[in-house]
Symmetry: C2
Subunit: 460 residues, 2 copies
């Protein structure tokens, strides 16, 4: 079954046969054999026959790098040489490609750079590494004609990278929207279902294994923003930038920590659900990138993305909108994506044509890296919750400040709060974020607590 | 850029280079150059450089078969030899693969069989052909080591086939659900939004180009059922079977013609929306395949699939659920999928390994074709609307007939109908379809019109 015609133009005569890749198996160097790595070992072994049929030769794990040789492994690891010494993998000339599922950015980055420099292709599930050092690694891959595949780095089992790559080779991607952090979505879903306060929903997520002990990367919005940077490289040719909560940051990054049960409830009354979204949009001269909580319509597909699920929408000029949702994390969904990449990269090795990173390199070279839309220039609809002292004129003052900055109010409701406070919830029509922020700054003196500012995405 | 290392194991030394496919371009024979074919010509020309980078050599249309040489074509057709004589294409040994976008099953089937027999790979958008002759064509492809790619045949721009194929090589697909007929979904969406009667919604869809003059394949459920058969080949290794509305048919096929505004309204009050669904499920010994209208929860992602959009959910044992929605038809979304297949097949030709149909052949060979679950054995929840003469005891008689067949009622509402009639709408708990049908048969004497029986899918 591993023979193939060497000249596809000679099909009509008895085809001359050659053995792809010289008939040798494709040998994988596995960097890391924890939960995802164990899933990769298991799936490669369990589906060996199907994979061989797609690749033309067998695909097998040749060696695995681990931190602890004593740790128990999946049964499919039997027979695979394990080592704690990376030199053993780099010294093994029979390894064709490396799979990185160890995590972290320093050691993983060094190992992947070394693999790519030697012309070996790489499959990684490491979005933090790509967001930090992606541009350099992709350049290295292109220079060495190697593949750098990363389906599992964004959206777990959702084939978002493959779809973006296909769109990049025969279409033009103009927009990306996503729910890309399962922890935040789990917490917001719990707050929506039970009206639990944020701290309680977070503690529950931690107890159930859906949030880390230090949840700041997730609930701070950074994990989602890193994934957005990876998608923006592929879709728009943008190079990653440093991420921060600083108001002057090039990419708007906000997490969900300021959201209260009161916001979830107010959103519900307005016909919305609160979700943490990432948004990327091609405006021609400039590119818009942002990651923040937002109000989405209750009857939209986004509202139906519950618990730890992820979702993403790609908008292509020819393709139109394409929405996908599924498990964004977990060892098996992630391992499925890693193995799909291994199959694809193995096929490229057999073909002698790197097929995965070229699309990216094309995008990055074809489109000059463009400036990002500054935060003040964003034009969005807003939701604001003010907690103010309940005294005459507060509503007028809020309405006045917004009017002065030409922010037009869509709905506004004042209700009684606790301890002589009033709560004012309002939504705006589309407005410049700079104007919105200037209004809020002016209203600081009347606020008991910092107003909660959320964006409304009602056209998704 | 078309050079590649000939031996991927020698990466660490200066790589020896070879030109993939001998450096020759991949030449496409285009069968049909109508709206989709024109889109394919346009996308291949506009994205020629990106495609060359992914494939390793140029991909160009070598010849095109059309019915009418006088018809105006897209500008990108300039320079491509057009002919009305298929022999000119089969006589051209330089053509590497054929793209079939002509439609119909007879001529298209003959041409594709001939292409595959000569070892040439084929890309088709023709789901009717695959549902009618798929098994034979796939066997022919496997025997001749050619690819038979058909991403565009199901779900237009949604990458459902690629995703199923990836899942088939590293996972096990246990379920498929879909909204796969854009015309039916357009009509049901209009009925939901405006409470228009079916005939009016159909006429509007026809006037706006979303339904054919003869809409029976679409609104009769056959188009969706054909697509289900194509997906079931790939996911479960099932061979296609003839489709009919006959109650004894192996695959339950129902269309949307019996649905009235009254059903849309009753569904709404119960918290549901009416959609036309296809469902495939692996039960181990048997496989369940059905295509029919169903009530889905208003807050589910399915309810958000509006107008002519399509959607599909794949459930993989490792992957979990993966939901996708997008444009299910239209020249450009379909052309995007055709071109993605052309790129994939071209990469296989360069590699000398057919990569697309092998997964299918594997599935079909690995799993013996299994019996389908007979209609009477389906276990589902039901919605029934009875129109009866408003006389004492009708409700008791309905409740009695159902109880006798052990069908348990979940909700039941009687309301006044027109002209001395009563309307009784009920939903059931999970029940055997055989029992449900037996109850309805018993109740025929009290019914003024045939009861409307819909299935409820509340766990999607």
């Amino acid at each position: 079954v591993s023979e193939a015609p060497s000249n596809p133009n000679s099909h009509s005569t008895q085809p001359e046969r050659r053995r792809p890749h010289g008939g040798r198996p494709i040998r994988v160097g596995l960097l890391g054999a924890g939960v995802v790595g164990g899933g990769v070992l298991a799936l490669l072994a369990q589906h060996a026959r199907q994979i061989e049929q797609r690749v033309g030769v067998r695909v097998e794990v040749g060696r695995a790098l681990v931190r602890d040789l004593g740790k128990p492994r999946v049964p499919e690891a039997a027979g695979v040489p394990f080592t704690t010494d990376a030199e053993e993998l780099f010294g093994d000339a029979s390894l064709d490609l490396f799979v990185e599922v160890m995590g972290g950015t320093d050691e993983a980055g060094t190992l992947l750079a070394r693999a790519l420099s030697s012309g070996r292709s790489v499959v990684t599930a490491n979005k933090a590494l790509l967001a930090a050092r992606g541009a350099g690694l992709f350049a290295l891959a292109a220079a060495n004609r190697a593949d750098l595949a990363f389906e599992a780095a964004v959206g777990g089992g959702i084939p978002i990278i493959r779809t973006l790559r296909d769109a990049a080779s025969s279409d033009e991607v103009v927009g990306i929207t996503g729910i890309l952090n399962g922890t935040s979505n789990f917490i917001l879903t719990a707050m929506t279902d039970s009206r639990a306060p944020f701290a309680e929903a977070l503690a529950d997520a931690q107890a159930r294994g859906f949030a880390e002990a230090d949840p700041s990367l997730d609930v701070g919005g950074f994990d989602a923003a890193q994934k957005l940077l990876v998608l923006a490289m592929l879709a728009f040719g943008q190079e990653p930038v440093p991420l921060s909560h600083d108001p002057s940051s090039a990419v708007l990054v906000e997490g969900i920590t300021a959201i209260d049960a009161a916001d979830v409830e107010a959103a519900d009354r307005l016909g919305f659900v609160v979700k943490h979204l990432v948004v990327g949009r091609d405006h021609g001269e400039r590119v818009e990138l942002r990651a923040h909580p937002a109000l989405v319509r209750k009857l939209s597909a986004w509202a139906a993305v519950a618990g730890s699920l992820n979702a993403v929408k790609i908008e292509g000029r020819a393709l139109g909108p394409l929405f996908m949702s599924g498990r964004g994390a977990g060892d098996l969904p992630t391992a499925v994506s890693v193995v799909a990449d291994v199959v694809e990269v193995a096929r490229s090795i057999v073909a002698g044509v790197p097929g995965l990173s070229t699309g990216l390199a094309t995008g990055a070279r074809a489109v000059a890296v463009r400036p990002l839309v500054p935060r003040a220039d964003l034009e969005l609809r807003y939701y604001v919750r003010f907690e103010v002292h309940d005294q005459p004129g507060v509503l007028a003052r809020i309405a006045g400040a917004l009017a002065e900055h030409r922010v037009s109010i869509a709905e506004i409701v004042q209700s009684e709060g606790k301890e002589g406070r009033a709560r004012i919830v309002l939504t705006t029509h589309r407005a410049r974020e700079g104007a919105m922020l200037a209004s809020l700054a002016e209203l600081a003196p009347i606020s008991v607590a910092a107003p909660v500012l959320l964006r409304i995405e009602d056209t998704l």
